[in-house]
């Protein structure tokens, strides 16, 4: 399976880019030691003008490269954490609803529906504004708008898998419902969620950026969205301030999608075979 995925060029490009990103994120303290928010140079040094600050400095004289590197960390962390929370929540609710059926299912799906009909970004906006911006509220806010997809997907998978012959076979064999759920159904209900996880991660990264753009990012952390937002007022005079993190953001999202696409494609092919 992994080999099949790796055979695809999308996987190579996307995976490669992501690997670099994650390496950079993991090694951020080594690559750019110290606080990335520290004021280290003259404000607004242009990129490639000063060897100490290859990508230049921002309005307060903070190193853009350091920001970019540490921003990778925060963006990756927020993206992954939000996606993880969303998927965990979605998978839990979805499978609980799917297995329980009856009024529990009905009630849970009402909640899912409630979250689905509220524009996720509006919800995130209200959530972060109300509880104050910190990485955790941002993560939760994003997850809150993203968990319904996985929930519905898992539920429908559980519902159809529940009727599968092999589940009937296991029941006939005398297997307990709990074991059927955990050992037989869940391992098959979850992979499609993993497949859409790429979309969720990418969406989370973009949502974080948009929240930061509206001034709702964690003020103590550098994220790319914050860098874009701060550079926004200098868009005309120092476009690089938002161009560079913007490009990094877009590239990351492209990479996530490419990898996700490769995985989805291989999974779909598997299913067809």
């Amino acid at each position: 399976m992994l080999r099949e995925i790796l055979r695809r060029p999308e996987a190579w490009i996307g995976g490669g880019l992501l690997l670099i990103l994650l390496l950079v994120a993991a090694c951020a303290p080594l690559l750019a030691p110290g606080d990335p928010l520290a004021i280290v140079g003259r404000p607004l040094i242009r990129p490639f003008a000063n060897a100490d600050f290859p990508l230049g400095t921002d309005r307060l004289g903070r190193d853009l490269l350091a920001g970019l590197i540490h921003g990778a960390r925060a963006s990756a962390a927020v993206g992954l954490a939000a996606a993880a929370v969303a998927m965990l929540l979605g998978a839990t609710v979805g499978s609980a609803a799917g297995f329980a059926g009856g009024w529990i299912d009905e009630a849970m799906m009402r909640v899912v529906e409630a979250f689905q009909i509220v524009p996720g970004f509006l919800l995130a906006l209200a959530f972060v504004s109300a509880l104050g911006p910190s990485l955790w509220t941002v993560v939760l806010a994003i997850a809150l708008g993203a968990w319904t997809g996985p929930a519905r997907l898992v539920r429908s998978r559980v519902l159809s898998l529940r009727e599968a012959d092999f589940v009937a076979a296991a029941r006939v064999m005398g297997m307990r419902s709990g074991e059927i759920a955990l050992r037989l159904v869940m391992p098959l209900a979850l992979p499609p969620v993993l497949a859409i996880s790429a979309t969720i991660v990418a969406g989370a990264v973009l949502t974080e950026a948009a929240l930061s753009f509206l001034g709702l990012g964690d003020p103590n952390a550098v994220t790319w969205g914050r860098m874009i937002a701060e550079g926004r007022n200098q868009l005309r005079s120092a476009a690089y301030l938002s161009m560079i993190p913007g490009a990094a953001l877009a590239l990351t999202v492209v990479a996530v999608y490419l990898l996700g696409e490769a995985v989805t494609e291989v999974l779909a092919r598997k299913r067809r075979a």
Binding site: P133, P219, R232, N233, Q234
Partner: protein, 502 residues
């Protein structure tokens, strides 16, 4: 020249537009064109230009102020303006309702109207004429009695469709889009106003304001609506000019508020260390790009009356700051950190937020680990001014021509919790309190000024708060506009003399 339409950027839509009820720059920016005060600030000696009042005079005992009112002034609905309107506004609006007037006119007992052109304000305690005069541009917007009398004033429909005596008449408001004001043909000053239509385009986004100016969609952006970083570029755009004058009486102060309940911040040495940790020059250059001045104390240097440079100064000195902290009993730990603080930058301005970012770094340099807590306006108001859930806060306080109006309250003890822009850091200094109280009833201007000079010295010595910079705003305008920045409160004045060349 032809009047034409002038389109101006507005960054917000005040929900209460009546300047007699809400004395704030956001309201004045629009409402001052329609509803006029008794007097306006001026660059001339004395600092005041008569508007609805032509003269004012205080009694010896400080218990009365007599205003002579302008003749031949008509309300926008055609009724004549009289002293009854002034008396009504003062007693029914400014004193009970207005955010600033409530304290200023607390001792106002009565307003006598011996004739249509005379209004005598009677106070129960001596009230310095200097203070009253300095406050006039801010607190004295006059409302038409015949419209408001007998109604619930705060809910009167005329608060939305203002009726005043000013050079412009209320047109319409399309929420989220614009306000439209029209020329008042019956304005009392001859040949004024010179603009036919004044449109406030609602543009909450600062980048959009700059772009709209450049695209020629608007002709004026006041109150630094154009980001400072864009000013240099915009100043080179043909047809646009950057104006830095016209805000002299609207000085904003970048202030670090201190919660004196915090055990560390109780130490004067710690406060001094913080003051020394701040590189004011950097703040001016990087954050204000030069459009500000170093602050020395609670009164800005551009105030012609009260300012004194003879105060305790805190030059940028990291070593000294560290030494002070050591002395105060806070040696640096293994990781270089001495203690932690919560830092709450006010969210109202880019500059306060950026300064928050800077302050965090400046404090880190001396071993104080400040964690920024970001709140929106309401959250900030509650956290700082009601719940006192802060250690340091960054505030854009305003100096309104007289320390008694909105400055002394920042350090006076005994202000009830929940009062915004007041001393909520729990600072108590009986000496300072006594001084403040004395100045409030000192009638002699010279003595009053001396008291406030001493006030500045005391504040800088004991540091109940730290003044970092005084900044005023900039305007970017089409170079076809004449009469820009004609007074020190220009953006919030009535613009009767503003002219647009064809």
């Amino acid at each position: 020249a032809a009047g034409g339409r002038l389109v101006v950027a507005a960054d917000s839509e005040p929900r209460q537009l009546n300047p007699a009820i809400v004395a704030s720059n956001g309201v004045f920016f629009i409402a001052s064109k329609i509803v006029e005060p008794l007097a306006e600030a001026s660059f001339e000696a004395g600092g005041l230009r008569p508007l609805l009042a032509t003269s004012w005079e205080g009694s010896e005992d400080g218990l009365a102020v007599t205003f002579r009112l302008r003749e031949g002034v008509l309300w926008h609905d055609g009724k004549p303006f009289t002293s009854a309107d002034v008396a009504f506004s003062a007693l029914e609006v400014w004193k009970p309702l207005q955010n600033i007037g409530r304290s200023l006119f607390a001792n106002l007992e009565d307003v006598e109207t011996p004739d249509d052109q005379t209004a005598v304000f009677r106070f129960s305690k001596p009230t310095p004429l200097q203070l009253v005069a300095n406050a006039l541009p801010v607190v004295s917007a006059v409302l038409p009695k015949h419209v408001y009398e007998g109604t619930e004033i705060a809910a009167n429909p005329a608060n939305a469709a203002l009726i005043g005596t000013g050079p412009f008449v209320w047109g319409e408001h399309k929420p989220g889009e614009y306000y439209l004001l029209r020329r008042n043909a019956a304005y009392w000053a001859p040949d004024q106003p010179k603009i036919d239509e004044l449109v406030y385009r609602v543009l909450p986004d600062r980048a959009a304001a700059a772009n709209s100016l450049e695209a020629g969609e608007i002709q004026l952006a006041a109150f630094s609506a154009v980001p400072l970083t864009d000013l240099e570029r915009v100043s080179e755009v043909p047809g646009l000019e950057v104006v830095t004058k016209g805000y002299e009486a609207l000085t904003y102060q970048l202030t670090v508020e201190i919660n004196h309940r915090n055990a560390h911040l109780k130490h004067l040495k710690v406060r001094q260390a913080i003051a020394h940790a701040i590189d004011r020059k950097f703040v001016l250059d990087a954050i204000f790009l030069g459009y500000a001045a170093e602050a020395t104390g609670p009164v800005p240097a551009n105030d012609p009356t009260f300012y004194t440079p003879e105060v305790e100064l805190y030059p940028h000195d990291v070593e000294k700051a560290r030494a002070l902290l050591d002395e105060a009993g806070y040696p640096a730990g293994a990781d270089g950190t001495r203690f932690k603080l919560r830092l709450l930058p006010a969210p109202y301005f880019n500059e306060t937020r950026q300064f928050g970012d800077y302050l965090r770094q400046a404090l880190a340099a001396v071993g104080i680990d400040a964690v920024i807590v970001a709140n929106d306006s309401a959250g900030h108001q509650k956290a700082v001014y009601t719940d006192h859930e802060f250690d340091l806060a960054v505030a854009p306080t305003v100096f309104r021509a007289d320390p008694a109006i909105s400055t002394t309250i920042l350090v006076r003890s005994g202000v009830p919790a929940g009062t915004p822009f007041s001393n909520q850091g729990g600072y108590e200094n009986p000496e300072l309190d006594a001084l403040i109280d004395e100045a409030l009833i000192t009638l002699d201007s010279g003595k009053r000024v001396d008291l406030y000079k001493r006030f500045q010295k005391l504040v800088t010595e004991d540091l109940p708060l730290i003044n970092v910079a005084d900044w005023s705003f900039t305007s970017v305008a089409s170079d076809r506009l004449r009469g820009l920045a004609s007074n020190p409160r220009w953006a919030v004045s009535n613009w009767a003399d503003l002219e647009q060349e064809a």
